[in-house]
């Protein structure tokens, strides 16, 4: 597209995360214009009108796709809707940004990949936004520069603060961990996965048992070429949200996020020397949400592939599904 014209965007899904994306698109992303929003909920559309001044509001996704003046769509909808919405968007000739994960099963992933292949001029990007976090970007650049030699092991843990209400149960249970899988593949050079093993436990939320789910888990993934990943995930932390990744290389190690400091303030009092922590992933990764959007917009405007491919999203889902199978069967699962 023309370098000076602005990319016109419609967004669907205005829940907590959708609103953040909408605000970023409306106010903080250069080169775009947020021109339409879609939601089945009237109150979400009211918010879009009142807070962002949006005039083109749709209850129905198809109706929004019919708007000719939209170049790209942002999908911040439930995962089960992702594949259908991406495909419809592509078929309507729109570039598509979709929140992660791509889909709940592999067949759906591949259906989307196949559709995307038919539209080589359209860009599709799944929002594995943490790759765009300044610290992860910096660590990745350091690995690429050879600072730690050849990376061979990634250990990553995604710890969420306990929600006494158990509200998180309504979300996809392993949503955080799929980022860890994506980090591991990214830092290790996208090797082919061979085998996984996972184990979990219910530390607090006994209600998860009926869903075959856990609130804490650990896992190992072996890749081709002697690459390894080790994961941990928790939804029962007391101190805040912590995403910690260690990248081990032959000449050094990088650690990202070892202490999830809220800011640069340290308190020395009767509790010792301490710092407060980022309460949720949002405070930790606020900048990432903005930067992933900027990457997508730039990729469209420069007519180049986004940094993250659909295949990356498929692979993260594939490994995630295998981990879940291992958790349930208590055996190592070959990929």
């Amino acid at each position: 597209m023309n370098a000076t014209s602005r990319l016109r965007i419609g967004i669907t899904g205005l829940g907590r995360l959708g609103r953040r994306h909408a605000q970023n698109l409306a106010q903080r992303v250069p080169g775009v214009e947020l021109v339409a929003a879609c939601s089945p909920l009237a109150e979400e559309l009211d918010w879009a009108r009142d807070s962002l001044g949006l005039l083109n509001l749709h209850a129905d996704y198809e109706a929004m796709l019919a708007q000719n003046d939209i170049d790209a769509v942002f999908l911040v909808t439930p995962t089960s809707l992702h594949p259908g919405h991406i495909i419809a968007g592509l078929q309507a000739g729109k570039h598509v940004f979709c929140e992660k994960p791509l889909a709940l099963d592999l067949a759906e992933c591949r259906r989307v990949e196949a559709e995307a292949a038919k539209h080589p001029k359209l860009k599709v990007m799944i929002g594995y936004g943490r790759r765009f976090d300044p610290s992860y970007s910096d660590a990745y650049a350091k690995v690429q520069s050879g600072l730690i030699g050849t990376p061979f092991l990634v250990r990553s843990q995604n710890l969420d603060m306990n929600d006494p209400s158990g509200f998180f149960m309504r979300f996809a249970p392993t949503s955080g961990s799929v980022h860890d899988i994506d980090f591991a593949r990214w830092f290790l050079g996208s090797p082919k996965p061979l085998r996984v093993f996972a184990a979990g436990t219910i530390a607090i939320h006994q209600g998860l048992r009926e869903f075959g789910d856990v609130d804490n888990g650990v896992a190992i993934c072996e890749f081709e070429g002697g690459k390894l990943a080790c994961f941990a995930a928790s939804r029962t932390m007391a101190h805040g949200h912590e995403t910690l990744t260690e990248v081990f290389g032959t000449q050094g190690r990088l650690t990202i996020g070892a202490n999830p400091r809220l800011d640069r303030v340290e308190i020395s009092d009767a509790y010792g020397v301490r710092n407060e922590c980022t309460p949720t992933f949002y405070e930790r990764f606020e900048e990432s949400f903005l930067r992933e959007t900027i990457e997508f917009v730039q990729a469209v405007r420069e007519d180049r592939p986004p940094a993250l491919t659909l295949h990356d999203a498929t692979e993260a889902t594939r490994i995630g599904i295998a981990l879940r199978e291992s958790l349930l069967t208590r055996r190592a699962v070959e990929l």
Copy 2:
């Protein structure tokens, strides 16, 4: 002003810091429109036209003030010009945001205060932006909440990375430290200063001797009511820019900025466990520049005094001048 109309701003001074302010005003501050820029240098005006699309470009400050559609001016000019430019801005009926410090001597500070008093509807704010840094804001809120009891001692140090070229000599020599003075007054509740003592040394830049200047210094300031401040400043650090402040209270201590981490990445290699540091004050305080502008804009739009008064700026200058006198006379200076 009307809550929905945008504040129209003209900026003068487009050096390194001026460009940052101009970019923030053009792209990141809600509720404003950057409508004009002024610089004696053609290349700076070219930049404003090419990068920001500005059309009203002036070589002369008076010409910009004559623009009727400007509500407020931003001054990012040499300190010696601040008083005259603020006063001219006020007399032209504009709100004024001016980079710190207010002036080089007290008489000038008071001349500005007197002029401002004649225009009670116009807002004037001096850019002691570090008060708006998220960590300093957080620490201040904690002090206000009583977390550390009554604050009685502030220790603050402003350490800049060594510039082998000695380029910093061309800037106001103690520019960093005046923030420390401002922090101390702010956290201690703006007590009346009583007495200062300062001592300095030239560790590296022998060329400073002819200016009666130093590249490292320490100082003490006593305030009424048993409040104390202790300062250190350096321009010869190897690791980066570090602004560290300790606030001692009767029930605890807060430390802000103890390790000037660049981000959340830690390296473990032959040099030990380490993190890279913010190279200059700009990387450390990028967010502050944005937030101080937002504060000024909101104060104007809500017709309320900005968080920082002109008197705060005068006091910081007054203490700074006394510190310099103590450095030269090697005696304690009464205020």
Copy 3:
């Protein structure tokens, strides 16, 4: 034994670690007297005579056991000799302290346990000394006090500095990790292990391939009652020796050893802000070696069981053997 009489000790094995034990026994442990030493190497006996002033020196372990004035023996010999030497010691009526691990296979472990059961008055303790490290002791006491609620997951990693010579190959390959297994059992309340999975890689030392060994590995162990452990081990670090353990409980987490600081010195220079690290396990755990000896001596003098049982040592070996089997078979191993 009489509270004021001193425990008379003979030591066998005067390699690097044996000399440390000998020095501790001779100079730093109250209530003991080092009265004899045994080694097949003349130079080691020379050292014992010259450095410690020992007069009863034996080339042969049986000869040392024949000394009537010895109450207890310290075994710092190769693992393959442990079972036979412990049993011989017990049959000679001596209390026995033996460096970890207990044995290389389970049958040997049980043979020792059976022999020990025949000598209920004699104390036997295997040197899982890291339990006596001040930080691990402190963490354990905190868990016992309920500070973090119920512990359910232990993550522990044992990282050794790379030895370019590959010298470590001559030692028991997974010697460090067995401490991690012991930590996990200890903090989790010694639950019954159910299942393990392990994966490894050779990052640097290709020569290990012929021994079926790896220089980096990760593992998961599931215990009864939903308890979990996750391990990592490396012998290829650049920064030093790091033993890091995280204990996750329902109300908080403890982290032990997150940054293996050499001391309290921090360097700020062109490499950032950094600290040097403990080069080997010895600098990290020097105090533990002393404290485990004191524990053993006190247990004997007070005629009470030592804090660590033979069963603990057997279980650590049992899990370690299963991990090795998993590493070789690439399947989860049931226990």
Copy 4:
């Protein structure tokens, strides 16, 4: 003295610190024999007999000096007694180790120096033990190696935990800070002091006012050759004892003791990520007390000057007295 004979020591003063020294001498210092103790308090002598098995117990220092089999005396008595006891010890032909500070006024310091000069074969050392702390030793060695270029500024703060009872008032009020003065001189290469300024406040303990004392203070000391020191001292901390020293050099900075961690345990819970702190100087400097004693003993046995000279102790006292004068007069004091 003969390399194999043991140094026979008598100790006077068995208060809290005296007992620590006595225990170290009895159990942990190689090459010595604690043969006598002296105290005016019967209960202290009972402790020496019961806990250490000492037989030669004296109520009177002169009587202990009369013991011919004593080579050296340890003085852990009130400061006012130091000069007289050191002089008497020397005149009785004993080597003398005396806790810091040397004396309360300069004339006394010089009287001791003069007496010591008459006994060139006898060693006298004042216990500025923190120089022997492993971290301070390491930092000093790094400075000597040139790691941070030429040191020119030492900032040191000595923060004690608040004692609600105000018990510390009975001790010499600035006892901690004199270590900071000693550190500064040591790291800066013992330059001649030129001028000091000090300021203080009473944050909590109003009862100190009648003694002209403060519970928090800051100070600056200028030395010849452009060397500087900056001190802070507090007796009202909530988190523990913290001795923090920054050494600024032309090529880097060393920080010693930035976070007074109790050990290597970190807690992540509702209070954030935190570590407990060393409650008093004793937990922080336990090793120093032992190492200073070992240094003294080795100096005597090797017939060489101890690392710390009497002149060092005099200079620390001289600067300390000037700081107190500045605090009272509110003026800079020339030395």
